[in-house]
């Protein structure tokens, strides 16, 4: 038996032994996932147990080094981990912006103290992070952001407003883009970390078309941020921000997701599938979904060994989000009038309709599809004037 096969056997046995039955079903929606944090309310004992067992082994972040709370798996081992998780239908023990976004940025740009401190907190699900990027006047044109940090010697005093801050009202800490030099557009931005409980921070949820409020407006009114809570150098936050955006886009693309959730034709058939044209659309969709799942696998394989184009996450984000929007359009069509129900028990309080509406943000958040196409044109295809 090769080392990898032995590892697979070990993982398979561990998962069989430790993954609670309730955690072998996909989460119903974002609210059903484990996000961790100071104030997180576990849905049930199984969710708590699953997080604790994984965190103890470093499996919430299997590829991170062990000193930072990971399991130190190699790319090949991590692939085995994902495959075995998919095989069992096991849901991730912990979902968080700390894992998907801040963690990778800290691994690359953080000091050793920052890594040990913040990454371990993330891996154990102790601190829930939110992202302070967009502002009312700075959406696609993010670099025009105005939130300002005034230098006060050993700390900055931050004033300004962020918008579309996902779960800001539930987060413990924020990683935030703050202008520390008004004269320098690209090199005047710093990447700061601070506690959402700091005096002067307030949040206001935004009611969306889905009827939910996953996004907030976030206000900073003379918030003091100690100087050591910067990632990277002063004025070089844009480098960190861009690197992190790559990981955010990878996350939103859905690459590496559970195969069983990708296709929808068989699922749609449960409601009866009498319309041949709808069946045809579902088949065309499933072709694209299975193809994209191969793309996700290839992308993850390549990025781990530096074979992927550095701008490839933009392509993944574009293709993955457009696909997801199509998925939910078809699920609505397949669901018929039952999928329209907004508040009934039987519809899980409008699960289908709310998810459908939620997906419309996929091609906006983290960079619009149009911006992704611009980036592909410029950085991958090297088209003129792009």
């Amino acid at each position: 038996m090769s080392d990898l096969e032995a590892f697979r056997a070990e993982i398979r046995a561990w998962l069989e032994e430790n993954c609670p039955p309730e955690m072998r079903e996909p989460p119903r929606d974002e609210d059903d996932m484990c996000w961790g944090g100071r104030n997180f309310q576990f849905k049930n004992e199984a969710q708590k147990l699953w997080l604790e067992r994984c965190a103890a082994k470093g499996y919430t972040v299997p590829e991170w080094p062990t000193p930072y709370g990971g399991a130190g798996l190699s790319p090949a081992q991590a692939k085995v981990w994902r495959e075995e998780m998919n095989r069992l239908g096991a849901r991730p023990p912990l979902s968080s912006f700390g894992i998907w976004m801040l963690g990778p940025a800290l691994l690359k740009f953080g000091t050793e103290e920052q890594k040990v401190h913040y990454l371990n907190q993330i891996a154990r699900g102790e601190i829930r992070w939110c992202q302070g990027y967009s502002e009312p006047g700075s959406g696609s044109d993010l670099v025009s952001l105005q939130t300002f940090g005034e230098d006060k010697g050993d700390h900055w005093v931050v004033n300004g407003q962020k918008i579309w801050t996902s779960y800001a009202n539930k987060a413990d800490w924020i990683f935030c883009l703050v202008r520390t030099d008004k004269a320098n557009k690209y090199q005047g931005i710093s990447f700061l970390l601070f506690d959402m409980a700091s005096p002067g921070v307030s949040t206001k949820p935004i009611l969306l078309i889905s009827g939910n409020s996953p996004f907030c407006e976030t206000f900073f009114d003379n918030v003091a941020v100690p100087k050591h809570q910067i990632v990277g150098e002063v004025g070089r936050g844009w480098d960190v921000a861009k690197y992190l955006l790559g990981h955010e886009r990878e996350m939103i693309s859905g690459a590496g997701g559970n195969d069983r959730l990708n296709t929808i034709g068989a699922f749609a058939k449960r409601n009866g599938l009498e319309d041949p044209l709808l069946r045809a659309e579902l088949a065309m969709f499933d072709v694209d979904a299975l193809a994209f799942s191969a793309m996700g696998e290839k992308f993850l394989d390549e990025i781990k060994v530096g074979k992927a184009h550095p701008a490839q996450p933009n392509m993944m984000k574009y293709a993955g989000t457009e696909l997801n929007k199509r998925r939910h359009e078809l699920l609505m069509a397949a669901g018929g009038s039952a999928a329209l129900e907004w508040e009934s028990e039987s519809s899980n309080h409008g699960g289908k309709a709310r998810s459908w509406l939620r997906t419309k943000a996929n091609s906006i958040e983290g960079g619009t599809s149009e911006v992704m196409l611009n980036v592909i044109s410029k950085r991958i295809l090297d088209l003129p004037g792009a």
């Binding site: 034709g265 068989a266 193809a291 392509m315 592909i376």
Partner: protein, 379 residues
Amino acid sequence: MPLYHTEDQAMLADTARQFMADEGNIAKQLRHYRDMNCKDGFGHALWKQFAELGFTGILVAEADGGLGMGHVEAGIVLEEVGRNLTPSPFLTSSVMAATALGAASDELRGRYLPGLLAGDSVFAVAIDEGPKHRPERIATKAERAGNDFKLSGAKTFVVQGGSADMLVVAARTAGSDEDDAGITLFAVPRDAAGLSVENARLVDSSQAAHVKLDGVQLDADAVIGEVDGGREVLNRVVRAGRVGAAAESVGVAQGSFDMTTTYLKQRKQFGKLIGEFQALQHRAAHLYSELEIARATVIKAQQLLDAGSDKADLMVSVAKAKAGKAAGLAVKEGVQMHGGIGMTDEYDIGLYMKRDRALAEFMGDLYYHADRVAKLSGY
């Protein structure tokens, strides 16, 4: 296994890329043989060179003198074939017929494989019986007559049929047209009495034949595999053909795409390079995305097939469908973005469009394979 080429495969890709660009390019091969109205539509000298490089035996077992490699390696050659629109009997002979012969007796392998390995022989595969690929339905009959078989029926879209020294023919020895069981594969020599082959030149200048079998008498030695048990081998042959055609499609798409993005960086209108226009940039970027996904799908299917996975069949259909979709988009955008020059015979982009049309149809089009994905997924 990671979804990228191993070091050995990357070396093979370098060799194939260089060779096809130097020797298999459009001017030297496709245009040359097209313009001389060659009955084969390809060059035998190039086929000999394929043999010298070992390509002809990529899927032939080492015990039979081949390289004993897999569909990933065959696909590497096919992608370069696609990129250069290189006419050759590689897909029909070295991928499909070689897969069939892999299941054949020592005697048949001994009779046919040395010629293939040497680049002296050309084989074709006769499966379809109508204008659409429907291998589930085989009506061509093979009736027993003592120890012999008598084949009667008609086959369509037999690529390289007119040039082939031997045709692998799928015929029915039992059951009715749509039955899974009762299929037998035969190795039919070109000079068999009662075999007529009518060459037809296709839109892409490739040659495919209408084949008639009018009481073609064969002895039991001509049977590939088991009598009545040919479906399993036939499935292997069509899977090899499908994933191979998908790899070639990715090459066609890439060739067309490269030519188009180059043009976007050269052509000026309104005092600007047309590649500066966002209307074109976004379409090019979308096409890039589709092409990348198709490429990933094809290598996934190749690896699953080589690993003998039970998921291979589904993924092969996904690959054929997705590669066809991406290549179809690549050639249509290619001609449109080239503008008027894209409509001229002198310029190569139109040749990509023609080749894509033929490849899309070969071994099942997007609609056939999407339907198959649905059926395999239970709806």
